[in-house]
Each structure stands twice: as structure tokens, then as C-alpha cells.
């Protein structure tokens, strides 16, 4: 009888043993096969093979799916209008599963098995770091990275088509200071992007006569911010430059609002907020917030408007929107950039040739307007928009044309 009871009642030791067994089992991860999207027509030389490595599953699947849908739209547009130099494009998708460890193996398949001519994808910096080695270094393949990011990526044959810290902050911060914000707080998630972005931001704030009174880094899934919020209030902060990301963002935004700081006139900016934000930020916390991105649905540009409409027509009732924060605009920009590059090389797909062509190239139309690569930097100059949220919509309040990336110079 006694024995019976003991078996039912786990001891602390058996609990710990069980936990370590779980940790050991933690490596179990699914492997996925590639998904190939063949063009509807053929060419004697065969299709141009584009590899997409993005997060279809896992924590940032929403962004990854936006990227994948955008890639399909861009490729459909190119194929429908006769391909690149007469050759159609074949899309090959590998799921990087929001996990750099899984990604390395899957991406390698793009290079070794499918022998793609170019790879687009990666959203987080950790993912970019993980996949650039198998693609660019060992794989000797061209790689285009679509997401807004922290800068300092200067690997040859790697092109970044999303905005850099300078592009996102060089106009936004002076604008905010002109609005009367002097005391800034920078609550942040503890990883590379906020750390490097904050370096830029702090510099621009101080150059423009502002002051940073708080710069703190939290675990990504922090659930309690009352002390920091208390400090923001007691230090009489004017403006919060926010780089906390979901899931930590939800409780922070709510606790900040609950403190009454926003009702007393405090304002917030967050440079990844886009049309997805109303789904995870309460309307009262979002109202009046600033963002600065390369594209908003409200950008008054015929091509951009048509592009959004085409995307929504191709992906009816989709949960994954065509937005800048999801890297979708960078993905579109990248594919069209590559198209122009191959046209410039007259159909030569060799990495060195295309890469040389991409080094200095302009594209007349894109999401948010025209863009061009800045020679020797692997980054793009593009239009940037400062927008403020009103009732869930982003109203553009200031825009700047062809803002340089200020990277790798």
C-alpha cells in the first residue's frame, strides 16, 4: 500500500530527472521538404531558380508568410510579363521555421539540391547570420535580405533591401524633438536590433538637443514592467522610443497606458509598427503613436497603391498583409532588384556578374517609391515616411526621398 502511494507521488528528484529528460527531448524538430512552384511556361534554357528561405512556421510565421506570398506575387508579375530576358522564374521555398538551427540544413538544400541562382529571405538578424554562411560563403550564391534591421551587414554578395537605422531615425528623431519632446526613454528587448538601433538613436537624440533618461533591456517575453513604467512617469519622460517586441510588447504597452502617462501627454514611437499593429496593440495604446518605415498602405503613390491592391486580390482574406514591418516590401524590392540586375547582365546568372550589376542600379517603381543601391554598400537608398496612428490608420505626416542607408561606407 505504502509503495503504491510512493509511485503516485513523484519526489523532487524524479521531477528533476523528468525535466532533464524533457530537455534532452527538446531537440526533436520536424524536417520539411522544399515546396517548388514551377512557372506555367518554359524556356529552352530552363527557368531561373529563386530560393526563398523564410519562416513559414514557428514564432514569426506571420512575417514569413507575408514574405512568401509577396514573393509569389512578384514572381507571378514577372512571369506574366514574359519572365526575365525571356526566361521564366521557378520559386523554391524552404521553411526556416523561426529557428536558425533548423534553417541551416534547409537552406543548404536550396543550394545543393535545387541549385538556386539566388536566395531571398530571413527575417530576424539571428536568421540572417545563420543562413548567410551556407548561402553566401560556402554556397557561393547571391543573397538578398529583406527586413528592416540594425545595420552593419557588409558581407559581399549580400544585399539588404529593407531600411537601416539611419533611414528609420535620421528624420523621425529631429521631427519628434521639434514637436517639443526633450526627454526620451528607450525600453528595449534584449537582442541585437534594439541595441544597435538605440546607439544610432541616442546619437541623433543628443545631436539634436534631446536627452536619453532611460535605456533598459528586457528579456523578449518579459511580463512585468511596473518599475520601468513607474520610472518613465517619475522621470517626466516626454517620449518613449520603443523597441520591445511581441510578446513582451503587450504587457508593456498596457502598463504604460495604465499608468496614465499617455493621458498626460506622453508620446510613443516604434519603428516596426505597421498595418499589423492594430491586431496586437490596444487601440488606446496605439492612438497617436509614431512610426517611420519605407512604406505604409496610405503612401500616396499610384504604383504602391496598385501593388497593395494586387496583393490583396491574389491573397483574398489573407491574415498576412503586405507591410513593411513584415519584410514584405523588402522582399518585393529584392526580387525586382534582382530582375533588373539580370537584365543588366544580359541574362548572365553568375553570382559575380549579377552582384556587380546590383552594386549600382536604380528601380523606378517599388513599394513606397523608387529605390536604388548605393555602390559599394550592399544597401538601398529609398523613400522614408513618418506616420502617426489615428483610429488604427497610419497618416503620413512627413516623407523624405531617397534617404541614404549610411552603412558599409
Amino acid at each position: 500500500m505504502k509503495k503504491d502511494l510512493k509511485q503516485i507521488q513523484p519526489s523532487r528528484r524524479s521531477f528533476l530527472m523528468g525535466s532533464s529528460a524533457l530537455a534532452a527531448a527538446g531537440w526533436i524538430a520536424g524536417t520539411t521538404g522544399a515546396f517548388v512552384l514551377k512557372p506555367e511556361w518554359a524556356h529552352a534554357a530552363g527557368p531561373i531558380k529563386m530560393g526563398i528561405a523564410t519562416d513559414i512556421t514557428g514564432a514569426i510565421a506571420a512575417g514569413g508568410n507575408s514574405c512568401w506570398q509577396t514573393a509569389q506575387l512578384a514572381v507571378k508579375q514577372i512571369n506574366d510579363s514574359g519572365g526575365i530576358m525571356g526566361r521564366p522564374i521557378e520559386l523554391i521555398l524552404e521553411d526556416t521555421a523561426s529557428d536558425p538551427g533548423v534553417a541551416v540544413g534547409n537552406v543548404r538544400r536550396l543550394i545543393q539540391k535545387h541549385k538556386v541562382d539566388v536566395v531571398f529571405g530571413g527575417i530576424t538578424s539571428a536568421m540572417r547570420e545563420a543562413i548567410k554562411n551556407p548561402i553566401v560563403k560556402r554556397g557561393k550564391t547571391l543573397y538578398l535580405y529583406p527586413q528592416l534591421y540594425e545595420g552593419q551587414e557588409c558581407t559581399p554578395h549580400l544585399y539588404c533591401t529593407g531600411p537601416t537605422p539611419f533611414q528609420q531615425c535620421s528624420d523621425l528623431i529631429p521631427y519628434l524633438i521639434k514637436q517639443g519632446n526633450k526627454r526620451f526613454a528607450m525600453p528595449s528587448a534584449n537582442y541585437l536590433w534594439p541595441q544597435l538601433l538605440n546607439k544610432w538613436t541616442r546619437r541623433i537624440i543628443e545631436e539634436n538637443g534631446g536627452e536619453v533618461v532611460l535605456e533598459e533591456y528586457f528579456p523578449l517575453d518579459q511580463v512585468e514592467y511596473s518599475a520601468t513604467v513607474g520610472k518613465i512617469k517619475s522621470e517626466k519622460v516626454d517620449h518613449v522610443f520603443l523597441t520591445i517586441i511581441p510578446p513582451g510588447l503587450g504587457p508593456f504597452g498596457k502598463q504604460l497606458y495604465e499608468s496614465g502617462w499617455q493621458n498626460e501627454g506622453g508620446t510613443i514611437s516604434c519603428v516596426y509598427y505597421d498595418e499589423n499593429s492594430p491586431y496586437y496593440v490596444e487601440p488606446y495604446a496605439l492612438e497617436g503613436t509614431y512610426s517611420c518605415l519605407d512604406f505604409f498602405h496610405s503612401v500616396d503613390d499610384a504604383f504602391s497603391k496598385q501593388l497593395t491592391a494586387d496583393y490583396n486580390a491574389m491573397w483574398k482574406d489573407t491574415k498576412f498583409f503586405f507591410t513593411a514591418g513584415a519584410a514584405a516590401t523588402g522582399m518585393y524590392r529584392g526580387i525586382k532588384l534582382y530582375e533588373q540586375g539580370v537584365i543588366k547582365t544580359n541574362g548572365d546568372l553568375k553570382r559575380e556578374a549579377v552582384s556587380e550589376a546590383l552594386d549600382n542600379i536604380s528601380v523606378a517603381q517599388g513599394p513606397g517609391g523608387p529605390y536604388k543601391t548605393v555602390p559599394g554598400t550592399g544597401h538601398c537608398a529609398m523613400n522614408m515616411y513618418i506616420a502617426q496612428n489615428k483610429g488604427g490608420d497610419w497618416n503620413i505626416i512627413q516623407s523624405a526621398e531617397m534617404v541614404p542607408p549610411e552603412e558599409c561606407a
Binding site: 530527472m17 524533457l22 514569426i60 513607474g230 503587450g250 498596457k254 496614465g260
Partner: protein, 294 residues
């Protein structure tokens, strides 16, 4: 003075959230001897139910009412089909619950499209004391937690049913001899624990964001609370969770003190919660409250 009220309110409100989350886990762990690794997903299901109600245009509070029943029924189903086969092997049971949790989580993830969603408070808004403003919903959670915990305690200690549960735990064979169906009792207890988890998820999700790993975020802290409080009682883990829940914002507030702020970063204060808990467990391995009445 206002500031102190604010600090106490913040600490108590987070403490209550932890208590809500841990109570279901504590009941299952203490009364049945099962460490339920799917507990986080029960919490997630409660939150998900509430969100579903919101998305279908139904009132959020209705979702919160429905959540414990739906998650409780799900828990009942799991106990009857899976869990009861593993009572003799606690570690295998733990792995089984881990698998269930994984399955639930990865089913919910595509259902919400891997995205983050807000759920609005049924009673939004702020109330003010002096210069400080407070969230009404956090206040509601504090009151509800006290009510729910008191009723659970009374239910387990004062009612006939509670006595049967405790008896079945203490000596299953004798309980069966007395004509009590232990199988039924276990199923009911597991469902009850699951229902509490569902309720916790439903009540707290407006303060956070709905995402597939919501439950997972709290699971480690919840287990730490159970170890801190001691397995075998209901009060122990609840006390443990209140303590952990108080330490999380408490250590952050310590940073207001000069000198301490220099070495206590927000990240380190998170680590400090675990360090402190481990030290307490080391000093009092039997838990805060020894295995006693329940």
C-alpha cells in the same frame, strides 16, 4: 504615499496572476501526483477561447465564463483517454502531458496564424488614487483571485467531496473499499485543475497578448512555485506562487534604490527570481508548507 500604493498594487496584481495560474497546477500535482506539463496549454486554451468569443463578436466576459467549462471538459477527456493510464509511472505521465501540451500548442499556433492578438478587457479603463492611476481590470483580477482561492480552499477542506478527494489521495485502496470511485474522482480533479487553468488564461490574457507560447511563458515560473511551496498541499504552491509573483515586479522595483540599480539590470533581476527560489528550495526542501491536511 501614492507611489507606495502603486508599487503594492503592481506587486499584488502580478502575484494574483501567478496564483491563478498555479492553482490548477497545484491541485493536479498535490492531489493526483501528476506534474502536468500541458498546464501552460490549458492556460493558452482558456485565453484562446476568450479570443474566439471576441473574434465572433460575442462579449469577452462570456468567453471568460465559458473558458473554464470548455477547458475543464477538455481536461476531463484527456484524463479519461490518456492520463489515467500513467498513474503508476509519474515520469512517463509527465512526458505524456508534455506531448499533449506540444500538440495543443502547435495546433493553436496555425489557428491564430502564428500571430499576436490583443484581447480587450471586459471592463476597460482606469481609476485614480491621488496622483496615481490604476487599471480597473487588474483590480478585478485581485478580487476574483481572492474569491476563487478562498472557494477552492473551502471546497477542498470543508465539503464532503473535498474530503473524498483527499481520502482517495491518501489511501486509494481504502477509499475504494469504502465505495468511493477513485477513477471518477481523479477524472473530476484533473478536470477541475484544467478548468482553473482555463479560467486563469481567460482572465489574464487581456493584460498580455494572445500567442501560441503564452502558457509556456508562465509554465517554468509555475513549476518553480510548486517546488517552492511544496508538493502535497494546496496552500503550499499557492503561497509559493504568490511569493514568485511578488518577486518578479518586486526585484524590478529594487532598482529604484541607488547603487542597486548599477548592477541589477532588468534581465538580472529576472534571473535573481530563480536564484532566490532555488536558494529557498535548498534551505526548505520540504517546501514552505509541509505535506499536511490536503
Amino acid at each position: 504615499m501614492d507611489e507606495i500604493i502603486k508599487i503594492v498594487f503592481d506587486i499584488v496584481s502580478f502575484s494574483c496572476i501567478m496564483v491563478l495560474i498555479v492553482s490548477g497546477l497545484a491541485i493536479i500535482a498535490s492531489l493526483m501526483g501528476i506534474f502536468n506539463f500541458a498546464h501552460g496549454e490549458f492556460v493558452l486554451l482558456g485565453a484562446y477561447t476568450t479570443w474566439l468569443f471576441q473574434e465572433s463578436g460575442l462579449p469577452v466576459w462570456a468567453g471568460m465564463l465559458a473558458a473554464p467549462f470548455i477547458v475543464g471538459a477538455f481536461g476531463f477527456f484527456l484524463e479519461v483517454t490518456i492520463i489515467r493510464r500513467f498513474y503508476k509511472a509519474a515520469i512517463v505521465a509527465m512526458l505524456a502531458t508534455y506531448a499533449i501540451g506540444l500538440i495543443v500548442r502547435e495546433i493553436v499556433r496555425p489557428l491564430i496564424g502564428g500571430r499576436f492578438y490583443k484581447v480587450s478587457e471586459p471592463i476597460p479603463g482606469l481609476f485614480e488614487i491621488g496622483d496615481m492611476s490604476f487599471s480597473i481590470w487588474r483590480g478585478v483580477i485581485i478580487v476574483l483571485t481572492i474569491i476563487i482561492m478562498t472557494s477552492c480552499y473551502l471546497f477542498l477542506t470543508k465539503t464532503n467531496y473535498g474530503l473524498k478527494i483527499r481520502g482517495a489521495m491518501e489511501n486509494p485502496a481504502l477509499a475504494r473499499t469504502c465505495g468511493i470511485s477513485t477513477a471518477k474522482l481523479y477524472a473530476f480533479t484533473f478536470a477541475f485543475g484544467a478548468a482553473l487553468a482555463g479560467l486563469a488564461g481567460a482572465l489574464m490574457v487581456p493584460l498580455y497578448t494572445l500567442f501560441a507560447d503564452l502558457g509556456l511563458r508562465f509554465l517554468v515560473m509555475a513549476f518553480l512555485s510548486v517546488m517552492l511551496g511544496g508538493v502535497g498541499t494546496f496552500e503550499g504552491p499557492v503561497l509559493g506562487s504568490a511569493l514568485i509573483g511578488a518577486m518578479v515586479p518586486g526585484f524590478q522595483w529594487l532598482r529604484e534604490i541607488p547603487y542597486i540599480v548599477d548592477f541589477l539590470s532588468p534581465i538580472f533581476s529576472e534571473v535573481l527570481v530563480f536564484l532566490t527560489a532555488i536558494i529557498i528550495v535548498k534551505i526548505r526542501p520540504q517546501g514552505l508548507i509541509k505535506r499536511g491536511r490536503i
